[in-house]
Subunit: 117 residues, 2 copies
């Protein structure tokens, strides 16, 4: 079953709470994840919330990675959306798991763009 895109939805629980509120660390983590999976970075947008929490996205030539964090719950939602065969999104998953220290996670894969072509 061919699809244009592979979309990985990461539920990252029991993370290191300190890093979930560290915008600089999270930006580095998302860029490292993009690099590790072989993606080409085109743009980014990161925001720190008050009193806590960070949202960030890295747009890549192969689609995007984003993260939203809730430090108060030790939880982050992250997505890795890629298209094409030149990238290995599973490597990005491993980077995020390691850097955020998640002790309880799940990954759901959604195929996007299943077309009759």
């Amino acid at each position: 079953m061919n699809a244009l895109g592979k979309h990985l939805l990461l539920e990252l629980k029991s993370c290191d709470k300190e890093v979930l509120d560290d915008i600089s660390f999270l930006r580095g983590a998302l860029l490292a994840a993009a690099s590790e999976c072989g993606a080409t970075v085109l743009g980014e947008s990161f925001h720190q919330f008050s009193p806590q929490g960070v949202s960030g996205v890295v747009v890549i030539a192969e689609s995007h990675l984003f993260i939203h964090t809730w430090p108060e719950y030790g939880y982050a939602a992250a997505d890795i959306f890629t298209c094409g065969n030149s990238v290995q999104p599973e490597k990005a998953v491993q980077v995020l798991l390691r850097k955020l220290g998640s002790k309880n996670h799940s990954v759901v894969e959604v195929r996007r763009g299943i077309l009759d072509i």
Copy 2:
């Protein structure tokens, strides 16, 4: 079942092919969708691909909206990720359906951050 975020995955098929390659139009559509659902825009990043296709993201205080288009197939993948009760993401869905002229679409809702809190 409470969740921190509501994530709508839109598969938009049989769209107007011309608008799928119009970065200015798509930026306007995503910003209109964000506005219509009551979101606060924090940042954006849009990119035109060669020979065709656009990727764009709008980061909102309530999470994000993104779109990736494949004009050659009349297809776009869009996501509307929101948290909190102050926004109505279904209104953003209607804006995107209308502006992209999709004649064949599906929407999958994923609850993100279902925690024992």
